[in-house]
Subunit: 748 residues, 2 copies
Amino acid sequence: MVAPGSARPSSRTRSSVNLPNWLVLRLGLDGDEPVDPLGPAVDLHEHRVTLDLRRGVLSRVLRFTDGHGRRTAVRQRRFVHMASHHLAGLQTVVTAENWSGTLTVASGLDGDVTNSGVARYRELAGRHLSVVRIAEPDPETLLLVARTTQSEIEVAEAARTRVVDAPAVRSVTRETSRIAHELTMEIAERAPVTVEKIVAVVTSRDVALSHPGTAAAEEVACAPGFDALLETHELAWHQLWRRFRLDLTGGDSPAAAPTLRTLRLSIFHLLQTVSPHTLDLDAGIPARGMHGEAYRGHVFWDELFVFPLLTVRIPGLARALLHYRVRRLNAARRAAREAGHHGAMFPWQSGSDGREESQRLHLNPLSGRWLPDVSYLQRHIGLAVAYSVWQYYQATGDLEFLAEHGAEVLLEVARFFATLAHHDPAMDRFRIGGVMGPDEYSTRYPGAAEPGLDDNAYTNVMAVWTLRRAADVLSVLPPLRRTELVEQLGLTPAELLRWNDVTRRMYVPIAEDGVISQFHGYRDLAELDLDDYRRRYGDLQRLDRILEAEGRSVDDYQVSKQADVLMLFYLLSADELRVLLGGLGYPLPPDSIRRTIDYYLARTVHGSTLSALVHAWVLARAHREDALTHFERALSSDLADIQGGTTAEGVHLGAMAGCVDLLQRCFAGVETRENAVWFNPHWPSRFGALEFVVQYRGLSLDVRVSDREVRVVAAPGPGPAVRVGCGEDIRTLRPGEAVRFSAAVRRT
Amino acid sequence: MVAPGSARPSSRTRSSVNLPNWLVLRLGLDGDEPVDPLGPAVDLHEHRVTLDLRRGVLSRVLRFTDGHGRRTAVRQRRFVHMASHHLAGLQTVVTAENWSGTLTVASGLDGDVTNSGVARYRELAGRHLSVVRIAEPDPETLLLVARTTQSEIEVAEAARTRVVDAPAVRSVTRETSRIAHELTMEIAERAPVTVEKIVAVVTSRDVALSHPGTAAAEEVACAPGFDALLETHELAWHQLWRRFRLDLTGGDSPAAAPTLRTLRLSIFHLLQTVSPHTLDLDAGIPARGMHGEAYRGHVFWDELFVFPLLTVRIPGLARALLHYRVRRLNAARRAAREAGHHGAMFPWQSGSDGREESQRLHLNPLSGRWLPDVSYLQRHIGLAVAYSVWQYYQATGDLEFLAEHGAEVLLEVARFFATLAHHDPAMDRFRIGGVMGPDEYSTRYPGAAEPGLDDNAYTNVMAVWTLRRAADVLSVLPPLRRTELVEQLGLTPAELLRWNDVTRRMYVPIAEDGVISQFHGYRDLAELDLDDYRRRYGDLQRLDRILEAEGRSVDDYQVSKQADVLMLFYLLSADELRVLLGGLGYPLPPDSIRRTIDYYLARTVHGSTLSALVHAWVLARAHREDALTHFERALSSDLADIQGGTTAEGVHLGAMAGCVDLLQRCFAGVETRENAVWFNPHWPSRFGALEFVVQYRGLSLDVRVSDREVRVVAAPGPGPAVRVGCGEDIRTLRPGEAVRFSAAVRRT
């Protein structure tokens, strides 16, 4: 612990390194030298940190004896309020176990925080706040207003600190960018003293405010005490868990309980990032959540893995998050125009204003060389946006969103891919050149001067899917709105006919053996002896760097970081894929899917956390046991930090959400399409039965899936009838009714 | 015109007084003394300003001869873009009609603008911007970034100026808070020169941006030229007018054409204030629109008169505007709590953060005295919010909005009025004391020390209406959401039972003659000889000030600024009102409504622009000709500036929208209730037939109403079936179908 007054600011920061620095709390024993409870000078008896997923509370217990033989216990509980979205609370209970005397607690606000969580970024600029003002709006409360350095967003924090059960003398320490209260009180042996800190954070991007500083001060002034806040916080979590309920019952696998816990941890992390808090923010779904600095908060395509969970649990939240894309449609249009195309070209990495934020260089730490980064050529991101828009509409029936916002996005993405495709007279096919698929190991043809590949199968097929959905959108729009959109976008009959042509004549590289090629010419590349590399290097997740350090290029080989062809099986049912390819004149041989899966399984090193997920998905139908191995690998991504250190830079939100989605959409087989909700499970019997809840078109459905049966019970009360399907069997379900489907396991 | 360089900033501002000062444009003739085209030194041949409502374009033509005998014509067109919501354009064409020489045009950005449009506010602080930065992002473009002084909102403007058809030499004038380009060019006789200024305005409250300054510069950099922008602007207006179509056909009244024009002007002004631009803003509906500074942009209850137009034309916009209230629910809860009540107490005047912004003093210019202002006691504002929430749900069927947002607002308003009501054992009735109704002439009982009145009939009845709707809301909510809300709000069975009690036992002051009293004891007040006052003072709109200057109080008399009892007939159909009062045990005598109308008609001085509107409404059923007189008075509110100068302080948006609504809801009898859209017209035959379009639950309906027939045609294409009613006749209407109701005029 640090005795206030004697400590310089820098040592103060150091002593609180293990406590989140936005809630600096210091404890001091009067008249002593500073004591760090986690430092070498004390005898630490106990240090336990517990995350209560159910209640969203982090607890810490510290018990130690200092150099004077004094034994002290500190118990802390903290939460970021899940209902009152500006508020957070920190309660600290200090017990002098074998002594009495004076205790000083410092509670402050620190504007000197930096982004320094990622080691390899630390030499870059990490200070993003400049403090505008520090103040004391009332005797219990401190206020700090800062402004972000580039975007000039104001961030105000107000902190109210109270000692609950003892009189305390309060003094204030002001520095340029920090302000703290020091509360000094008498502490008696075994009589716990409780200090409560309630903090409000308000930014100038928040709604319904005059000024963030005023709002933050008012929020804490009106906030009740820690216990009352904790009660409403716990209720909010209780309600979230009711919507995100996930239970495995009756299975015989010892893995079920830890699996379930990890799945719930994933949901918890997801809800730390996006939740009802997000509804009024202009925010997307960042790849690493709010948990770390990697990718600097950029928004990639991870939403593709997150939306399926949100849309059937908190549809309004999914809608709000889709608006992140809706609002950046103009930026995407601008990018398309500048690239010489029409429609909307969404960026691979998106930030505040929707421009392309992908880096153009990256460092290979193995070779020390800076290499060009062309990942921005991943044009497929727009297809993911279009996919999520349509899935939202299918799951919710929210025609107003589609008509007013979603349709325009989907149509403009469709238009972009229709103009990106060029007609190749030699083939009499449409082709898309100069792009990258999701597999970032394939960026250019061997020896090619320019990056980009032709006819990435994932991109070409999903472009056709999007163009077909564009036609669907135009047919379901209310006529007045359709007219408006056609006028605004200047859609012509010629353009619509071209769209239709592309859906019939797009080229997809499929070999005679039925294996879908990752791109045109992929199978002409050299094969690499992966077993040999595995022996030599062990982990091959960054095979690209290994080869580059050897003076080779991963571009020259038939190896994949993640096999993006398989993403087609993740996003589309086998039936849907057959229809799409059939419409293009590609009859898929019966064993084509299985051959394609096996082909890529042998050539994929899983350098992306999403890769294991997608493999688990596609294997669920064919190789159940292999599927579970991949599932467990994906599930452990962050828990075991399988990428060797990247978890500290932020969780992999797509993989976390995707694992839950794997249970829901793949193993339990939930799909929303053709105005029905489908349950076509491939359920692993070892897990017993899965119980969960989905919201479908205004009706709350309790679902139980086992390898023998699907049971769906609609909540009683007002609500519409919906259509529920399993295999060929479609039934109508009304509020209060139940349906069962027996052993209806889909075979592909 | 002002020759640049020779003009001081102040004279420059003066010379542009007739041009909006955010687009300062100056013309200069090289080598001459400054010339003001509207000043005494020139011979002005023509000065014509034309507002094109259909296209949203303001044009100006100026032709003049200066002291040197040079005849010059200036033609300007300007627009604020209706689709690209950051952009505006100003095109100026100068023609030297009988000379040639050098022309200098100045085009700049002015950060010195002040709020000085309202004469009586001019001694108050009027400067609300401080300029942060001026810059030239590219040779054609200027940038000015300012920050509002209190709320610190950043406002960036970028202006790109181009001379289209002549080479020009460009120089820059920078001052502390202003920056301008001066473009000097040769002008030949009769060869027009065109100067285009494209401006982008972006604030830190806008979405999808990194920094307002960057965004504004980028917006103008990417903007096309004036003509191309005008084309998309005109399309946006074309589409708006299609939704807001209003035609009077086949009538024999010479008043029809000017009436229609004024109604369209009202719609135009409404759409200048709220439009699809507003969708992503955290904005409410300000009483004076964006047109003036009176009430300083505060949000009163005018939305009550605006929502009925928007909800059936652009439902998504109505939804967005309701969010202004949703987002301020917490502030309303806080206000209720501080006043010792539960639930939500919305403020009479609402601003940025939802606190009460009503002034506590106002000046009577007739007496020179500052008087206490207790208008904040108008608790009924929350009832208007609840009413609009429910109407939106009825018109759109948008259960998601109701469940996620609207229900909570409505329930909390209901709760507030249930706790505001106290049980009076002497009467065995619930009563609401200490409030004001909408009639601002009644603030306290004669001689009372404390302001506030008991049992304002409008408030008490609408409180009952809201409590009944609260029960309806709870019954239509999806069960899961209902459970969540009941938990969050802590609603108990005892509370719900009390709500029900209040809907059965609320006191409403109804006299034995069937006249509903404005409040308890109103009819015990003295009568005032209004004819006498009218003879002495003429206009009695500000009778309150006249009496105060005479040393009397308007509180002491049975006179009304607006008869707020009559608002009940405006908001509720006669049937609905009978049901409500019947449920309270007040059987309304058959001629009660007519007696009540006549009673207040004799005692109302129409000091509010809304008063004529409401009177027209209630008279439509009984006294058709009187109704039209009031309608024309309301319609002319701003056109004729009937309040003697207040129009310059901003239009009366509620009255403007209300006049259109009068045609729609009263004369044409459109109502959305009980899951049907109703047409029960009281149509004045002199106006022939009214044709308009409504959006009802996803279906676009073309409506034609005359005194003989109602015809409703549903647009063909996809869409739901809806229920359409007239009198007792309810039918189902599917897309592409038509229904007719003959001479089905409702009698009350």
